[in-house]
Subunit: 164 residues, 2 copies
């Protein structure tokens, strides 16, 4: 199984880049993981938020359509969303294990931009997980997702990292 | 009101240090914030976890006793704990606002070590908040707590940072 993370917008924050790099490096021991950065145009401050979300959403959905052409039904797509299901770390690990057992080709997690997802994205993708009831910057969420996926593999492999 | 964060153990991870530095700098515009690092001795791998937690707990409680001597009842102490209360960010902001309204002298958040708190710490400090149902490294939790406190002040001041 491949894991693909789709992030909306570049990051220019060094500590975020460094943390992402560190977890991707660690994860390569367990799984084929890749990151796709959706690159929306720079919007000026007069563009309404709904328009920004719509344009970002178009780029996300374009990517998903391509993904479906390649892998057919062998993909599962999940939005990171405050209103999604909350998991404990061991439950999240079981979830990933289950996807591997079903011979999924590609497990895809999508993190939106600063203003969240467009209605079109919500309509097309129903599966949602929430990392926290609290709102975090979409840049920080990238690190949190990576840490949880890394933690999940150490739980699956029964390696000493996770202490609850 | 002062905010004090008590962290258990040094961090030698650069991206964590940089993120902490960044949020502390931003927070200084809003509040007097300080960080105390509790420095337990290096334990060898034969020391049982309960012993590590106990020793770390002793150092935490020693600090709290001193804090109480100085500020009397004008302090509120909160443990960061997976089993604590979960807040939405706006609720967390209201909580901080409420403490300021009550003329609290010092609001103290404590993050434990890799293995959590000792029973003695739990016994002495009942207030607990949880950032996520998921378990994160105690190093990452430091950034998450700082981001939420920063976010809380932007919510309180009605500044454009928080988008829910």
């Amino acid at each position: 199984m491949n894991i693909k993370l789709i992030f909306t917008g570049q990051t220019d924050i060094d500590y975020i880049k460094n943390a992402i790099q560190e977890y991707v490096k660690r994860l390569h021991h367990y799984v084929n993981i890749s990151i796709v950065i959706i690159n929306p145009p720079k919007f000026n401050s007069k563009v309404p938020l709904s328009e920004i979300k719509f344009r970002e959403g178009e780029l996300i959905l374009k990517h998903i359509v391509k993904e479906k052409e390649i892998n057919g039904k062998g993909i599962k797509i999940i939005l990171l969303d405050e209103k999604g299901t909350e998991f404990r770390s061991v439950e999240f690990a079981s979830f990933i294990q289950k996807q591997m057992n079903m011979s999924l080709k590609s497990l895809i997690f999508i993190i939106g931009g600063a203003y969240g997802f467009s209605p079109q994205v919500y309509e097309m993708i129903q599966d949602r997980i929430s990392i926290s009831k609290m709102t975090f910057s979409h840049q920080l969420i990238r690190i949190l997702l990576l840490e949880q996926i890394y933690r999940a593999f150490t739980i699956i492999k029964n390696e000493p990292y996770h202490n609850e």
